[in-house]
């Protein structure tokens, strides 16, 4: 009898709890009705990033103004945040946003965007002559040895989709974005840790070369696999600070 009543009591208590849980799911009791539930997710935490770059880092391919972050290698993305923080890359709103972040948090945010897999969309191209496009293709695939310009593919991978963990892809980017980045190395609004090999290359390109390279890259059919190639797929021909100064130099 004693055991039975204990069991009975336990069942009633359990029943009451279940009833309570149905009536008041966890979280609602202490919560102010005026406040929506704030999810404890990184996505919620980084509203400062996603407001412009999109929830999945898709960017604004129509205008090319806010770059796509989705699927870019994590090491590359974390490096960009650090470069904004250190004032090597200059853009006020990004410098302000990255200013107080820790290296750990920057890496976590970079991993989030690197892991996003969203379809690529095409961006508008300026009208350019076939000769310009041919010059672009030549520079991207073979470089210009007479001016010590290596082929883009020498570092950015044979598929131009980038190489893990530090080298970004070049296909799937808007014309305006590529040409403005190449230009920003020349106007010293974009830089990275020395030796800054992209700075050297951008300064060896002429203005018409920049248009040609950007146009050919932006016009290219996208490969089926847009993921960055595995680490070690390339041997960079220049010394690059961002790659831990690896490469055989030129």
């Amino acid at each position: 009898m004693k055991a039975l009543s204990a069991k009975w009591l336990a069942r009633r208590v359990l029943g009451a709890w279940v009833g309570m849980l149905i009536l008041f799911p966890p979280g609602t009791l202490a919560q102010d009705a005026q406040h929506p539930d704030i999810p404890d997710t990184l996505q919620q935490r980084i509203a400062a990033c996603t407001a412009c770059h999109g929830v999945h880092g898709e960017g604004t391919p129509e205008s090319g103004f806010f770059p796509r972050l989705a699927g870019k290698p994590a090491g590359y993305l974390a490096r960009q945040l650090k470069d904004f923080q250190d004032g090597l890359r200059k853009y006020g709103p990004m410098e302000y946003t990255a200013r107080q972040l820790s290296p750990e948090y920057m890496h976590e945010i970079a991993e989030y965007f690197a892991a996003q897999d969203v379809p690529y969309s095409r961006s508008p191209l300026p009208p350019l002559s076939p000769a310009t496009l041919k010059r672009g293709e030549e520079l991207v695939t073979h470089g210009d040895p007479s001016r010590e310009i290596p082929a883009c593919s020498a570092c950015h991978g044979s598929q131009l989709t980038g190489v893990q963990p530090d080298i970004p892809g070049l296909v799937g980017l808007p014309y305006d974005y590529i040409s403005s980045q190449l230009g920003s190395w020349r106007t010293k609004t974009r830089a990275t840790v020395a030796p800054d090999c992209m700075n050297e290359i951008a300064n060896r390109l002429s203005e018409s070369d920049i248009s040609a390279v950007s146009a050919w890259l932006a016009s290219r059919e996208l490969p089926a696999d847009m993921h960055a190639q595995p680490a070690g797929s390339v041997t960079p021909p220049l010394h690059c600070g961002v790659l831990g100064d690896k490469g055989d130099g030129a």
């Binding site: 919620q44 004032g87 820790s102």
Partner: protein, 427 residues
């Protein structure tokens, strides 16, 4: 008689000219001739104490270039009079404090003079640092001398005439600089005195949290009354217990939380204060943070100044602001403006929302951003920037709505205030 007067005037002018432009002649004290022995400066306990005090004083913040070697100088400090680069204070013999003795260092920190007697620009806050005790200064010096020497020459001064003439500072110093260590108030508890010492001295809080006049002097009476930071265009709020823009309603724990984690139940650090929290206050001991809170909580509210009633009919602005608030802000900050505890700060009663200029609220709406990442808040929630999404009119309306809703009673802001702050440089 006229002639005598003329002679006297000329003599007085000559005398004042001599006083103003005579060169200071102080011989640096060689480290070997210093009263402080090398063994003292190498004492690990003294160095550790100095490291802590250097973080309290946030020395690295000015004396480090973005992305540069800590304490090697190079950060250029913008002032309304020109740009002043912070010097290298690592012990490099040629470009830093390598040849300096403690006597030289004390002369700079306490009296605002270089080792040759030249007058230092008060962007180096010796107006506050003069209150630091000799013992604490010695510890800081020992710590700085223990750093690895980095060779980095000072950048040139970006000051024009007459500010480039260091002796012009004599007049400035006569007006604004009172030399002297902090004198404890025997009628007050130890914690209060410790708090006052940290706030007025090393913490140099009054350098930002007070209005500056046209000559760049900080108001000292009353101190910490809040003021716009020149060239940076942020408003450092009143730190007294003032309602509407001060720390009314802040508990000791709220003050400690903000300084330790960058976030509190009453508000979040952003802009220049985010940097102060990250570089300096988060590293402070709890008892020092509590002492600061004790001192701040003792600051009496100012005499309330009645806001002049706006001649404009603000109802349409408030209606527009309410709409923007409901669409863009309420999800995180709540319809009641009370935020979400531990995640999003309240706007209701927030001192940065209510500060007199409106500049903080405008810039936060435009820039969004993260609170400082600290040990106590390693993955903070952030706010989206609205610069690209809201028009000047919408920003002005929503900021006005926030500043005049719930318990807030601050002045309205205009579209032109938003336009002015859209492209403020970031540093």
């Amino acid at each position: 008689m006229k002639r005598v007067i003329a002679i006297v005037i000329v003599a007085l002018l000559a005398l004042s000219g001599w006083w103003l432009f005579r060169t200071q002649d102080r011989q640096p004290v060689a480290p070997s001739a210093s009263q402080v022995t090398e063994a003292t400066l190498k004492d690990p306990a003294l160095i550790a104490k100095g490291e802590y005090l250097a973080s309290v004083g946030d020395c690295a913040s000015c004396h480090t270039e973005r992305g540069g070697v800590r304490y090697a100088g190079g950060r250029v400090l913008p002032t309304p009079f020109g740009n002043i680069p912070a010097p290298n204070i690592t012990p490099d013999r040629d470009t830093g404090l390598g040849g300096w003795s403690f006597e030289d260092f004390w002369q700079a920190l306490h009296s605002g003079m270089g080792r040759h007697g030249e007058l230092l620009y008060p962007v180096f806050s010796y107006t506050s640092f003069t209150k630091v005790t000799r013992d604490d200064a010695l510890a800081i010096f020992a710590y700085l001398q223990s750093l690895p020497a980095t060779k980095q020459a000072a950048k040139p001064l970006g000051l024009g005439f007459p500010y480039s003439v260091r002796n012009s500072l004599k007049a400035w110093r006569a007006l604004y600089f009172q030399e002297g260590e902090y004198q404890p108030d025997a009628t007050k508890p130890d914690a209060w005195n410790r708090g006052a010492y940290l706030v007025q001295g090393l913490g140099h809080c009054n350098e930002c949290h007070a209005p500056r006049d046209s000559l760049g002097g900080s108001q000292n009476k009353p101190s910490l009354a809040g003021g716009q930071i020149p060239s940076q265009n942020w408003y450092a709020p009143d730190l007294s217990m003032q309602a509407n823009g001060g720390l009314q309603g802040w508990s000791e724990q709220d003050i400690v939380d903000l300084l330790k984690t960058g976030q509190s139940a009453r508000g979040t650090a952003f802009g220049p204060m985010a940097e102060v929290v990250q570089q300096s206050t988060q590293h402070m001991r709890d008892e020092d943070l509590r002492a600061i809170a004790t001192y701040l909580q003792s600051l009496p509210p100012r005499v309330a100044v009645a806001e002049p009633k706006s001649p404009l009919d603000t109802r349409p602005i408030l209606a527009q602001g309410a709409k923007v608030y409901a669409e863009r802000c309420a999800d995180c900050h709540g319809k009641d403006g009370n935020g979400v505890a531990g995640i999003y700060p309240p706007l209701n009663g927030n001192s940065s929302v209510n500060e007199p200029s409106g500049i903080n609220a405008i810039r936060v709406v435009l820039l969004g951003g993260f609170p400082p990442v600290t040990k106590g808040n390693p993955r903070p929630y952030s706010m989206p920037p609205f610069a690209q999404q809201l028009s000047d009119s919408d920003v002005a309306a929503v900021v006005t709505y926030i500043r005049q809703s719930w318990s807030n009673h601050a002045a309205l802001v205009m579209e032109r205030d938003v336009i002015k702050n859209r492209h403020t440089p970031i540093d």
